[in-house]
Symmetry: C2
Subunit: 321 residues, 2 copies
Amino acid sequence: MKTYEELYKLISKEIENTDYGKTPKELYESINYTMHLGGKRLRPVLVLMACNLFDEDIHIALNAAHSIEIFHNFTLVHDDIMDNAPLRRGQETVYKKWGMNTAVLSGDLMMIKATEILCKTDHSRIINILSVFNKAATQVCEGQQIDMLFENRHDVNYTEYIEMITLKTSVLLATSLQIGGIIGGAKDEDAEHLYEFGKNIGIAFQIQDDILDSFGDENSTGKKIGGDISSNKKTLLLIELYNSMHKDDKKICDELLIENGDGKINGILTLYKKYQIKEFAEFEKEKFLTLAFFHLTKVNVPNEKKQILISTAHELMNRIS
Amino acid sequence: MKTYEELYKLISKEIENTDYGKTPKELYESINYTMHLGGKRLRPVLVLMACNLFDEDIHIALNAAHSIEIFHNFTLVHDDIMDNAPLRRGQETVYKKWGMNTAVLSGDLMMIKATEILCKTDHSRIINILSVFNKAATQVCEGQQIDMLFENRHDVNYTEYIEMITLKTSVLLATSLQIGGIIGGAKDEDAEHLYEFGKNIGIAFQIQDDILDSFGDENSTGKKIGGDISSNKKTLLLIELYNSMHKDDKKICDELLIENGDGKINGILTLYKKYQIKEFAEFEKEKFLTLAFFHLTKVNVPNEKKQILISTAHELMNRIS
């Protein structure tokens, strides 16, 4: 089995050796810029890891891995327009650097390139692979729309929240594993279990993110505590708090939410502590993690081959930034 | 051979019977809205016509036709963001009606749906069809970027202009015919000639549009003369004028271009007449039309089968709006 680092190097070399195009300059410059910004490249690594469970030759999954990384980056380019975001991975966003019109087109073209490169996968089940990919792509767009709609709602519930993060974040992780598995030769059942493993890891990972924002160590995460609280983001924590509070605390909470500054953050954190919201979120995270690992046990390959997926999942969960 | 009207009805029924999705409501409402706005549906009709040259059963090309119409509409939704356009086909644009974020996502999802539906084409050459489609999709994005870049340039030349309209408009018409041909069973050579037919018709059609804007009959076109002149759009006419003028007239022209109103329009029209720009454009239009029909003669099917494409091309060229 190849390590994360080996797979990361392989996909990074593939991406860095790809010239996505030349003319018109502005358009391809922005695509090359985005693709060469780096990042964890988690999704393509997962494609390769899943393939490697069933086949020693992971090169057969390289186009699919590359395609999913392009797709993921396309969603980031368009998300940055919608979020009016100036920075991504510590660098200017395409939106900020080239303007909105080029950012729209740059994302569009990346989406097309993602399909184009996926189609280069020489596999008897290519239509099946495309169908799985298109389904996930659809769900990611749905998730982004639902997330935007949450901004103007105060009654988001637990189920809606889990559905949103599943669509927006988890299905692409799940699909990366599923597609890698299919390319490697997994039976449908095994590919489905890989999908469920990825989906539940993704949900746990997002909950972890929500927890860290309120209870992380600023020195370790490098981020100021309470960013989500400041922006009234509907996290699992805030949603659960709303569900748990007595009437009087709800009034206090509503007043805090229209405030700004450290008083607001500290006030909400006090309520989180009072209602043991962190404990609830930790429980939920563990629940989804357990479910994820249950599905991994069901994948019909020797246990030693699964170790790399297990350790990757643990590293993701223990990440501090 | 089926008539335009018969094919139009077939594809319209297919589109109108399609529910593109339900949840999240805002996203799918905007897609259903766009797809049900109507229009000529020229591209899907061309897919079906080309298929019909080689196969009596045009239903085999219905998914591809549908896919190309979705793709075309995706480009319109995103173009309307970039052009800040309030109206499309006499109705509010998605951008205007639902806002920028939903318009970005709505277009993204339509692009995904286009691939998804194309993949339903049950054909041994589906990967080839996808490759032709992705190439055209890429070129349409390139054309749109080049068109935007023209806005800030004063030195656009004839070759650049023809390349831009080829990418932005013609390749999708060309690809519609090529894909229809492939699905119907055309040999590569015949599919290529259909592509060239569509490409050159598309160029001629765009030149016709440029001519009508300056020399059309307001009563027939329903549009005020000189819209392109008012907005300093780089049409074939303006580019040729710039190439032809004496120094003194160039000075007059430059002064006119920074003006507004009827004086500007009449001034530029006077220069067009002085330098016989309309005659030049008519000549160019005829040149591309001739080239188009030459390629059609090369397609290896009985002449009577081609009549529908010839009459469709003539109707397009004689359209007044």
